[in-house]
């Protein structure tokens, strides 16, 4: 009797093992339903019940979007907007598959991605964010300054020690230790990484060639931390470490960060104002579709590692009632809504861009 029991228990364990582990490899099923063209009336309703507008995408702007939706529904009780912060890539996928009404992304969609979508998609900048270098070098007499090419060389593994001549050149008078540099980067695909490598690729041809620009890249050196907290954790625990985090994260957690030399040659510590300045400086050359990178911007007040985050909308969605409500909301978000940005740590849009967007919103079909 008991040997049987023991053996049966073994079998049960093996079954549990198989079943339990199989589950961990299962991906969330991406909606593979055949996309119906907008305007042809194929999709019955883009997600959920009649009144609700569903969206999904970037995690970075989630706090401000949530604030906007709740504030906006106070004055417009009939508009219910539901946002799922599943990541920019997921947002683009769901928008392309038309399982959500709007998407949101920290990086603009590529031409290729736009081509696979069933209809024309508009990019609408909502707020701005910046990325800052954080480091842990014990016993420094002053905050460190970096230049773009220097950051690129550190992340390429070419500058290996803190007392390297390239670092000393940017920081005259600061006594630098002979510690090894431990490089930390994001391990999860992230808009933060996108902005950072976009900047490094602009200022260093070698970085562009060896690493390139994407939300996840093949880093030549370093350890990956999951999320801003993962990178900040590694930097905090490891003497000699350098990493990059979102400006918001550094501000909210009181993490000291370094200044970065901009295109005009001034060293700037990122602030909400210097991020907005970067956007204002480049607004004159804003392309019509708003798919623009504002890293390494011109202007002496412009912080060089900054970016827009976008809401993505179909230009001609099948549900015109939802479209009308969404456009109204967007007009509010880029004007009155901007008042909520600073308290949550986001940089507001410059006035010139708001004007351009109001024109663009007129292109969206609402009837």
């Amino acid at each position: 009797m008991t040997p049987v029991k023991v053996r049966a228990l073994g079998a049960l364990i093996a079954a549990a093992l198989l079943f339990g582990c199989g589950g961990s490899g299962e991906p969330p099923a991406a909606g593979q339903s055949s996309p119906a063209l907008p305007g042809q009336g194929g999709a019955p309703s883009l997600g959920g019940d009649a009144g609700q507008i569903n969206g999904a995408g970037a995690t970075f702007p989630n706090p401000i979007y949530s604030k906007w939706f709740s504030e906006y529904s106070k004055s417009h009780p009939d508009v219910r907007i539901n946002y799922q912060p599943i990541g920019s890539g997921g947002g683009i996928r769901q928008l392309t598959n038309q399982t959500v009404f709007f998407g949101a992304s920290d990086g603009p969609m590529t031409d290729e991605q736009l081509k696979t979508a069933p209809g024309p998609i508009l990019h609408l900048p909502t707020v701005l964010g910046g990325v800052v270098p954080v480091y842990n070098v014990p016993g420094l007499s002053a905050d460190l300054k970096f230049s773009g090419p220097l950051l690129a060389d550190i992340y390429l593994g070419k500058v290996k020690k803190w007392n390297d001549a390239a670092i000393a050149k940017e920081n005259p008078g600061v006594k630098l230790p002979a510690t090894d540099i431990a490089v930390a980067h994001r391990s999860d695909g992230s808009g933060t990484t996108y902005i950072f490598v976009d900047y490094l690729s602009k200022v260093s041809p070698e970085f562009k060639d060896k690493v390139g620009v994407a939300t996840s890249v093949n880093w030549p050196v370093g350890v990956g931390g999951k999320g801003n907290e993962g990178v900040a954790g590694v930097v905090k625990q490891t003497p000699g470490a350098i990493g990059y985090v979102e400006l918001i994260y550094a501000l909210q957690n009181n993490i000291a960060y370094g200044a970065v030399k901009n295109k005009a040659g001034s060293y700037l510590k990122a602030s909400l104002d210097s991020v907005t300045a970067a956007a204002a400086a480049s607004s004159a050359s804003m392309p019509a579709d708003f798919r623009v990178s504002i890293t390494d911007a011109e202007g002496k007040d412009a912080y060089p590692i900054a970016s827009y985050t976008w809401i993505l909308l179909y230009q001609n969605p099948p549900d015109k009632e939802k479209s009308r409500r969404m456009v109204e909301f967007m007009r509010w978000a880029i004007t009155d809504g901007q008042a909520f940005t600073k308290e949550l740590g986001y940089a507001p849009l410059p006035g010139a861009v708001v004007k351009l967007e109001q024109d663009a919103l007129g292109k969206i079909q609402v009837q």
Binding site: L18, N218, T238
Partner: protein, 323 residues
């Protein structure tokens, strides 16, 4: 009385098949789920399977920008971290199980068993945070103080970062221990009293009697160890927070590495490109296949152990009593 019995049988007449049918449906759900997982994994990874073929298993590059994908560093990291965790966890877990089942004073048994099981209930994100804020700095101190002569060997090379393979294996070991210990204790408790009494009757010491009990339950204990291995293979959140997430094949315990579950969790949400997404799903497929193979092998091991059971060196109650 004579009439009541057939009535009861008649009632059992429909209850039996209903019950049997119900349980069969539930059991079929297991098969359907596993097959469903396989079908979805295959379907959603086709682009990558066609493009890379079997070289996916042996390529070291993982470059989303260039669109080149290989799973080798992740396969290596998953197996290496799980095996290390198993090596660390099994002796401790068996010690706990034996102490609880055989040696523990009565008043301590319940609280200790409860605490062991409580370890299994801690969410893995908590283990991960503990790993990054407590364990990794401690590991770093250990790495800094590793003698230079050891640092020159492949096993301990690289800069002292704290996060890396060693930290991941330690976190995994702590997470695996309650599973292995709890099941192994139940197995030991299921060993019949007659076994022990027979051993003592033959003049066995306590140590010898315990060895006999462990030997008697070895099939189930192997199962308990394999349960821990499966737990380690699939663990995601705690591992990704301390392993350093650098896809490289390295023997070094100090080197940051990566695992299959971790790369899926890290990169799935932002993967918008079709090939990239397919490659990530194929990593899931590889993990699925490896899990099935390892389960198959452990079943084989258990089956073989079960077959060799009746050898005389194993004192079954009959043999012991006959002696």
């Amino acid at each position: 009385m004579a009439e009541a019995r057939p009535a009861r049988r008649r009632r059992a007449g429909w209850a039996d098949p209903l019950f049997r049918g119900g349980t069969a449906v539930v059991a079929a759900l297991v098969i359907a789920t596993v097959l469903g997982v396989l079908v979805v994994l295959l379907k959603d990874s086709m682009l990558s399977v066609r493009k890379f073929g079997f070289s996916f298993w042996s390529t070291r590059t993982w470059d989303p920008v260039a669109g080149e994908f290989g799973a080798l560093p992740f396969i290596w990291g998953t197996l290496y971290s799980s095996v290390l965790a198993l090596l660390l966890a099994t002796p401790v877990a068996l010690g706990i199980a034996i102490f609880l089942a055989e040696l523990c004073p009565g008043w301590l048994r319940q609280p200790l068993a409860f605490l062991t099981e409580l370890l299994a209930a801690i969410p893995s994100i908590v283990y991960g945070l503990w790993g990054i804020f407590v364990l990794a700095p401690a590991v770093r101190v250990l790495e800094v103080h590793t003698p230079e002569i050891l640092r020159r060997t492949a096993l301990f090379s690289g800069p002292p970062l704290g996060v890396g393979m060693l930290a991941a294996a330690l976190v995994l070991a702590v997470m695996v221990i309650p599973f292995t210990a709890t099941v192994a204790r139940e197995i030991l408790k299921a060993v019949p009293v007659a076994q022990r009494e027979a051993a003592y009757a033959l003049g066995a010491t306590r140590w010898e009697a315990i060895r006999l009990a462990v030997h008697y339950g070895r099939v189930g204990i192997t199962g308990a160890v394999m349960l821990g291995f499966g737990r380690a293979l699939g663990e995601t959140m705690a591992v990704t927070m301390v392993i350093g997430n650098n896809p490289q094949v390295s023997l070094s315990l100090f080197a940051p590495q990566h695992t299959m579950a971790a790369v899926i969790a890290n990169e799935f949400t932002e993967a918008a490109d079709a090939l990239y997404l397919n490659a990530l799903v194929e990593i899931g497929l590889v993990l699925f296949i490896i899990t099935v193979v390892i389960n198959g092998l452990s079943r084989l091991l258990i089956w073989r152990m079960g077959r060799t059971k009746a050898r005389p060196m194993v004192a079954t109650p009959e043999v012991a009593l006959a002696a």
